[in-house]
């Protein structure tokens, strides 16, 4: 050291200081209250005002909710029972429970089928949602769509079975060729599956006569209630995620044609209101398709909502891809990983992790948007309430109870999705553990 620093005093430690435990946390309830709620007079006023607001809302709504009538045949009967006191008419929920859940034309003796499908959904989605479960359980997930279709729509078992076989044929072709090139394997696999599916129509009738395993068929127009929202939500979210990822990768592609197709698709779909797309699905699509094709209405709606959501997911994922440092791409390349491997093993796991909040945003939005199908005369939960239930003479005027119930159902599902995603984000946090 130079002697310019005249005030520096030489020092050498001679004794070690033993580590001591941290000081006791001082406090308790009173201290917490004072620190957080009443730290100064302005905060104290805010606290009191908020408390009063909460009290007021509860004072208005709680008696109404708790004083509700659960057993009555109509609104008039409810009023009679209440005898002028304030109270909700929950009886509409108990009386129309099945209609709210399944719509008003789904055969009531078959309610067990969609209910079972819903229970199976919870089981079969688990291996995808929880990475800790054994990977072998993914087979359940892969089988689920076919089982669920068979349960909900019924008909010959050979339709879902052959559709599944079509996927297997496509996959077999794909895995043969993928060693040469991913693009070639993917194209050939898709073509093989499509060819198989186009022949499927000729195979189902003979198979059904040989082995007539079937459930009573329920046509799509009989689907309704919250079941319809769940069907649309589940199918569209699970389809739009892979399509959205593919679009996001396509938008980054170095091949101009793929890039431009992706860009045009995304920009066009994002620029159009969903409700317009639904009207297109309802009316216009029927003109373009050959008359006898009679593409199922639910299928048309699924296509439209999926396209809509996948455009949004593509943009969310693109944000995630852009947030990754170039070094990750370069490291993957320099190790000799090919494009598909680099994407699947290195880039997408990280990009998707970054994109989780955005994807969940789209998924929650999509699920709530499934209620829009009520404007094209499909009877989902909201369609049921607005249509058959409120229009009936018995229950005309029970708005709060019905829409409150609808809101609660949607809230439960959306809040669940949100909580799950936060849990998943914590699970995937590897940088600070």
């Amino acid at each position: 050291m130079s002697d310019v620093h005249a005030r520096t005093v030489a020092y050498v430690r001679e004794s070690e200081i033993p580590p001591a435990p941290p000081p006791e946390a001082v406090g308790g309830v009173v201290k917490w209250l004072r620190d957080n709620l009443f730290s100064n007079w302005f905060n104290a006023i805010l606290t009191l005002a908020s408390l009063y607001a909460v009290y007021w809302v509860l004072a208005q709504s709680l008696p109404w909710i708790l004083n509700g009538v659960w057993n009555a045949g109509s609104l008039a009967e409810c009023r009679e029972i209440l005898g002028g006191t304030s109270g909700a008419c929950w009886a509409v929920l108990s009386e129309r429970w099945n209609q709210l859940l399944f719509g008003f034309t789904y055969p009531s003796e078959l309610y067990w089928r969609p209910s079972l499908a819903f229970l199976l959904l919870l089981v079969c989605a688990a291996p995808v949602l929880f990475p800790a479960l054994p990977r072998r359980m993914l087979i359940l997930t892969a089988l689920y769509p076919f089982v669920a279709y068979f349960l909900i729509w019924g008909g010959s078992i050979w339709t879902p079975v052959l559709t599944a076989v079509g996927f297997m044929v496509g996959y077999a072709v794909y895995s043969r060729l993928v060693t040469q090139s991913f693009a070639m394997g993917f194209l050939a696999g898709t073509v093989a599956a499509l060819v198989f599916w186009s022949l499927q129509g000729y195979l189902v009738p003979p198979l059904s006569t040989v082995a007539p395993i079937a459930l009573e068929a329920v046509p799509s127009r009989d689907m309704g209630g919250f079941m319809l929202n769940i069907i649309l939500g589940t199918v569209c979210i699970s389809l739009s995620l892979p399509i959205g990822i593919a679009l996001a990768l396509g938008r980054q592609s170095s091949m101009p044609i793929i890039k431009w197709i992706s860009v045009i698709f995304i920009e066009f779909i994002r620029g159009v209101p969903l409700i317009t797309l639904l009207f297109v699905a309802n009316v216009v699509l029927a003109y373009f398709l050959p008359p006898q094709s009679n593409l199922d209405l639910i299928l048309r709606v699924v296509i439209m909502i999926t396209m809509f959501a996948s455009a949004y997911i593509a943009e969310v994922v693109r944000g995630g891809l852009a947030a990754l440092p170039r070094g990750q791409y370069e490291a993957a390349d320099s190790l000799g990983l090919d494009y598909a491997q680099a994407m699947r093993l290195i880039i997408l796991p990280q990009a998707l992790k970054i994109s989780i909040p955005g994807i969940v945003n789209v998924a929650v939005g999509l699920f709530k948007d499934t209620t829009l199908v009520s404007v094209i005369s499909m009877f989902d939960l909201v369609g049921m309430i607005r249509g058959p239930i409120l229009a009936s003479t018995d229950w005309n005027g029970v708005y709060w109870e019905l829409f409150g119930f609808a809101a609660l159902l949607f809230f439960v599902v959306c809040y669940g999705i949100s909580q799950y995603s936060q849990w998943l984000e914590r699970q995937l946090q590897t940088d600070r553990r």
Binding site: Q328, E330, L335, L337, P349, L428
Partner: protein, 265 residues
């Protein structure tokens, strides 16, 4: 000015290593442009198997671009690059083959943060080389032991210090059993006390006869390990020589200026 750390002269492998006549990398009349900007101009360079070449030069002179061209992270527009007997063309298969033979270590490590250290090391052998998982893990542990961090195998990159991360990056490359290693300023993102641990690893690697191209400003390392030092400026190879001659008797004016700046006064 960063002072080159002193290398222990005793372990210097340079003089004892033999360089074979076999050509590892051959670059002929290679040119590269970024748009209209001519980054690499008429590069000619032959690297023999077992050679250790240090590339230095001022910032922006094209050092990174040159070694990135060798494993096709950058595309060159004119000239020929032959790596290990394979001519670099735009064919993807061909590029992937070369990349799996050539290891690369980056300035910012570029470990995969979502994978553990062990997974970082086994990923490419499993997917590119189709090595069975068990065997890939054994290899990975072997190289992690070699870079002296086997105990970190199950941690994530974010939990390691910079020097440890860079040693993992070296081990990750080695797990592919490359015949050539490229280093792009492997120590310039590190604190001084970590530089030494990384350089030690590299010295050891050089001692085993690995063909190495190293972009670095660690002149102590160059003196100790390199067979040849190359000085680049403005996209051209300005001077190359054996380290002794290069440092003691630089011919070119620009080399002299550069050396006087980097070695301090």
């Amino acid at each position: 000015m960063s002072e080159a750390p002193q290398m222990p002269e005793a372990s210097a492998p340079k003089k004892t290593m033999t360089v074979s006549d076999e050509v590892a990398i051959e670059i002929e009349a290679m040119n590269k442009w970024f748009g209209a900007f001519h980054v690499l101009r008429d590069i000619n360079l032959t690297v023999y198997r077992g050679e250790r070449i240090v590339i230095c030069g001022p910032s922006g002179s094209g050092k990174s671009t040159l070694i990135r061209c060798i494993n096709a992270l950058e595309e060159h527009q004119a000239g020929r690059i032959e790596v290990d007997g394979t001519v670099l063309s735009s064919d993807i298969k061909n590029i992937d083959t070369i990349r799996s033979e050539v290891g690369m270590v980056f300035q910012h490590f570029n470990l995969f943060p979502h994978l553990t250290i062990l997974e970082n090391c086994t990923l490419a052998p499993i997917w590119v080389r189709k090595t069975p998982k068990r065997e890939a893990e054994e290899t990975a542990m072997h190289f992690l032991t070699k870079v002296k961090i086997p105990e970190q195998a199950h941690k994530y990159p974010g939990q390691l210090s910079g020097g440890q991360q860079q040693r993992v990056a070296i081990a990750r490359s080695l797990c592919m059993r490359p015949r050539i290693m490229l280093f792009d300023e492997p120590t310039s993102a590190l604190d001084p006390e970590m530089i030494k641990e990384v350089l030690d690893t590299m010295v050891e690697l050089a001692g085993e006869g690995m063909t190495m191209l190293v972009v670095t400003h660690e002149m102590g390392f160059a003196r100790q390990v390199a067979n040849r030092v190359i000085f680049m400026d403005q996209g051209q190879i300005v001077e190359q020589n054996e380290p002794e001659a290069f440092f003691n008797d630089p011919r070119n004016e620009r080399t002299r200026l550069f050396l006087s700046q980097i070695l301090g006064h």
